[in-house]
Symmetry: C2
Subunit: 353 residues, 2 copies
């Protein structure tokens, strides 16, 4: 499906269902509002699912991997070969995302969106590569507009397939050495913040590496002149294959009326591009956690999302998104199972004994 | 068991096991420290369990309920009868804590530590009442020293029983109309903060109610003169039956080498008394969440605990403790299941390709 058709399929969430959920919450045996953000999650899920009772399983985390030409500029503490090594680790089930997805009962969908090297993946990795790596975004466009469109379509198709299998939540994850550089450039484009403000240490570069990385992001913005008003072009210019794929997962998830749970900084950058393309998609998104990467704060502010967790995570892969799953489960269970003052025979606030 | 014998059974945690866990975490396929507080949880659990692999199930939440004579001073938005009504709701399985404990696979242990009224509990409520309610702590001691000792012994016995059944975690919960007043008084005693600084709106009293509640806490401190250096006496003077029982659960959990997960403000007040009695117990504690109650911040600072969640909860019952369970599960799974750089054949930071 082309991006324009996908955008047309995204409907606004149902604010009446959210209000109905809040009325039910207000009648449950607890002081008004005392479940805090669990109540917010419960009513937002109601607005997405158009119902006050809903399931949060089955669910999946889509982990998209790709390489970045800009890795040649030494912006990462790790060599580019780690991307392929980690995809093998995902396939073998030994990475953090595998462990956390099992713990949180989510299916893991691993997608090669363009990992460098001759990759003899086993059958558990989807082969959707758009190239061996993007071009160096500090020297010109990372990919063609046609590649960006193809990546979005790939992600949307995967979201559609998961929805057809019954998924209620799609979580986003990624792997790609140097992809915090692309995410920083995208965040600068869509938030208006400076390269210095949104560029961080990623997997752990030193001071000299950080200075080099900021200069690389600045060059990327100067040579490509990406604009927030032309989001697909900006995504092609300074994005990555896995980031563009995640834009498709986000838009496709919203089109399928799924809750879409973001992970950290990279997936927030994808979300910035997604809501620039389709503003309605924003109301399907949950920010799972606040990353230690400095650009994440700016991205979340522009997304208008308050993260559920703040655990100092800076791993990616979808790890933070998995840790937030039980909060959505809790909200669903409260809606479905908790007694009302009336049903339980409990006195309300201000009533006499 | 008397309190003094209980204190002698609490051993320091094993810091060498924590260091061994951190070394294993540093060898796993992720940037150093990138799992943030999950790594902190993992190494703290190792120090408690004396092992780098451990289970976090089975587990239980002990919900202790009692009434407070000070409720007669109109410090709560709810009538005192709600305590008994909520215990019936717990027994019927319809309260928030029941829903969340089921979602997080924890056993719920409901304990009547002194609920007012003629209470025809079904068999699921443990009858450990020390009276129909405490005396009004703003007029004198809430309970006798013998009652405080008996409450601590009750809590410790329950923790011992759970440990004997194989529990790995004991979580703390409570119900008691007016118990934020007792918790505020205890927090003032053990943190040195003023009554005004640690007294909040509880279940939702208005401005006049808050002013009245602060004055009540001030009177409680003036007439009882509780001292942090005599913690059992302070607990008897301005505590509650359920709070004293939770002191026993905390000390008993630590003596049994269980992870003890606190809920919000009331359970933090119990923890303040517990660590004043046995400082070693502190290292067995996790603060699950930051409550909306203002006194909780002061209590956490004195406990030296940084809460895992910040979700605007102000319900009690153990609800926040349940929401933190999956973070402990995640830490255990990362320790047990995640691959190392060596086992997965992944290059480390700074290695060449």
């Amino acid at each position: 499906m082309d991006v324009e058709s996908l955008v047309l399929r995204i409907e606004p969430v149902d604010r009446e269902a959210a209000a109905a959920a809040q009325r039910l919450l207000d009648g449950k045996t607890k002081p008004l509002g005392s479940l805090g953000r669990i109540e917010e999650i419960a009513s937002r899920l109601a607005s997405i699912y158009r119902a006050t009772r809903y399931a949060t399983s089955p669910r999946a985390v889509v982990v998209m991997a790709a390489d970045h030409g800009v890795a040649g500029q030494r912006v990462s503490a790790y060599p580019q070969t780690v991307t392929a090594q980690m995809v093998h680790n995902f396939a073998a089930g030994g990475a953090a995302i595998n462990v956390l997805a099992r713990t949180m009962r989510a299916q893991t969908v691993i997608v090669d969106m363009g990992v460098a090297g001759s990759n003899d993946w086993d059958g558990s990795v989807r082969r959707c590569a758009l190239g061996a790596a993007t071009a160096d975004l500090s020297l010109g466009a990372a990919m063609t507009l046609a590649q960006a469109r193809a990546a979005v379509a790939t992600g949307a198709a995967i979201a559609g397939e998961l929805a057809a299998q019954g998924a209620r939540i799609v979580a986003t994850g990624e792997m790609g050495i140097a992809n915090t550089t692309a995410a920083a450039a995208l965040t600068a484009v869509f938030t208006g913040a400076s390269a210095a403000a949104v560029t961080g240490r990623g997997t752990g570069i030193d001071d000299a590496g950080l200075a080099r990385k900021i200069a690389v992001v600045e060059r990327a913005l100067q040579c490509n002149r990406p604009s927030a008003s032309r989001p697909l072009e900006a995504l092609a210019a300074v994005g990555g294959f896995e980031i563009a794929g995640l834009v498709g997962v986000i838009l496709g998830g919203a089109a399928q009326k799924l809750a879409v749970v973001l992970d950290g900084f990279i997936t927030a950058a994808a979300a910035l591009a997604a809501i620039a393309i389709a503003p309605c998609a924003r109301d399907y998104l949950f920010a799972s956690h606040r990353s230690a990467e400095p650009g994440h704060r700016a991205a979340l502010a522009t997304l208008g999302l308050d993260p559920l967790l703040d655990l100092g995570l800076r791993l990616g892969e979808g790890s933070g998104a998995m840790l937030a799953m039980p909060l959505l489960d809790a909200a669903a269970a409260i809606m479905a199972e908790m007694a009302s003052f009336e049903s339980a025979g409990v006195s309300g606030a201000g009533e006499s004994a």
